[in-house]
Amino acid sequence: MKNKALIIASAVFLLLASSTVVGYQLIHNQTPEQPSPAKFRLDDDFYTGGQLNELSSTEFEQLIAQQASFVLIAHMEYCPAETPLTTTAEELIHQKNYGLYGLKGDEFKSSSLASTIKYLPSAAIFRDGQLVAYLDAESDADIPYYQSATQLENWLSKYIEL
């Protein structure tokens, strides 16, 4: 009787130990599922602007202060990139008549955006003056968005109503 209880207890212990370890590994390695962001509408000049409107850092900060909703291309393509982001953005503008803002090199460096986006070029989406998303120049996953107008639009469509 005693031995039977000992065996059962041992088996339960083994089962519990294995379950705990396996369960911990599963939870620890699981990537939390990111909720899809709710899409929103940008300011009207995005949908009909039809050009890349270069800003100074002061003008950029004014847009933020005004809580504008817009897409910004921060660019400094100092050296050859496979396809400069500005070329991709210009192609998208030409295709869809979107109005984007641009922020060049040193203007970007002296803007508040430089404390968030480390490397250029990048595209950034703002909602009511808040940064919602941006392309990361060190992310392999973001490479396609730099290189094709269609892909850039696909990225935008994750966040904004097109």
Binding site: S10, A17, Y78, C79, P80, A81, E82, K118, D142
Partner: protein, 237 residues
């Protein structure tokens, strides 16, 4: 029978303990492996060259030795430091927010103009062409050929194969192209790091060249160790 049951019990207890210990240790090791960036080269103590991700990685910029970390690797006797810009680039980088003038550099880096090593192509349209004059090398039918008898001597002198080589430029492009050129000509790629662009450098060893005084912009090029190439002194092949 009792003995068998005792043995079985002991086995189950030991099995349970083993499971906990084994997977605990295994999980810890895996966790350390994932978090570890220790990928040191053989004897140098330097992390092996490894491209960063994204479009910066496409330029060849290194994940570990880059604009943010280069200060940790300066002043090595077993290394050379080369900035691949021109003092004044003929390309119009101002059009894309950059600077055609060498506005500053990292202490210890000597400047060698990449556009004079081999013709530059693929610049953004707004920038136009860089230097289009004579070059040490040319690319013909996917091969690199030397235009001068001294072409390889120049490279071997300024990029010695028995040293570690750190490359920078304005944004990382020329530096990446330099590594590609050297590797294609037989250099060991495991000894060359593309550090990236001075534009992103925020360390403690910036040497300022551009200055603005009374609203006038000027450049202290005398601060720069610049290895220009006088093609008139070279012998064409």
């Amino acid at each position: 029978m009792r003995k068998a049951l005792k043995i079985l019990s002991a086995f189950l207890i030991v099995g349970g303990l083993f499971t906990v210990i084994f997977f605990g240790v295994y999980g810890t090791i895996e966790s350390i492996k994932q978090n570890s960036t220790d990928n040191t080269s053989t004897t140098s103590g330097l992390p092996a060259p490894e491209k960063t991700g994204g479009i910066r990685g496409q330029l060849g910029i290194d994940k570990n030795i880059n604009e943010s970390t280069i200060d940790q690797y300066l002043d090595r006797d077993d290394a050379v430091y080369r900035d691949m810009r021109m003092l004044v680039d003929e390309a119009n980088y101002e059009n894309i927010g950059g600077d055609s003038y060498l506005s500053g550099f990292v202490r210890g880096f000597e400047v060698i103009p990449y556009p004079k090593l081999i013709n530059v192509s693929g610049l953004p349209v707004e920038v136009g062409d860089s230097y289009t004059g004579k070059t040490l090398f040319a690319r013909r039918d996917n091969h690199i050929i030397a235009n001068y008898q001294e072409s390889m001597d120049f490279l071997e002198y300024y990029f010695p194969k028995d040293k570690y080589i750190f490359l920078m430029c304005g944004g990382g492009g020329y530096a990446g192209m330099t590594k590609d050129l050297l590797v294609e000509l037989g250099w060991d790629e495991s000894k060359i790091w593309v550090v990236g662009g001075y534009w992103y450098y925020e360390g403690d060893n910036a040497i300022q060249v551009k200055k603005i005084l009374n609203g006038q912009t000027s450049y202290d090029f005398w601060k720069v160790t610049y290895h220009d190439i006088d093609f008139e002194t070279l012998h064409e092949k």
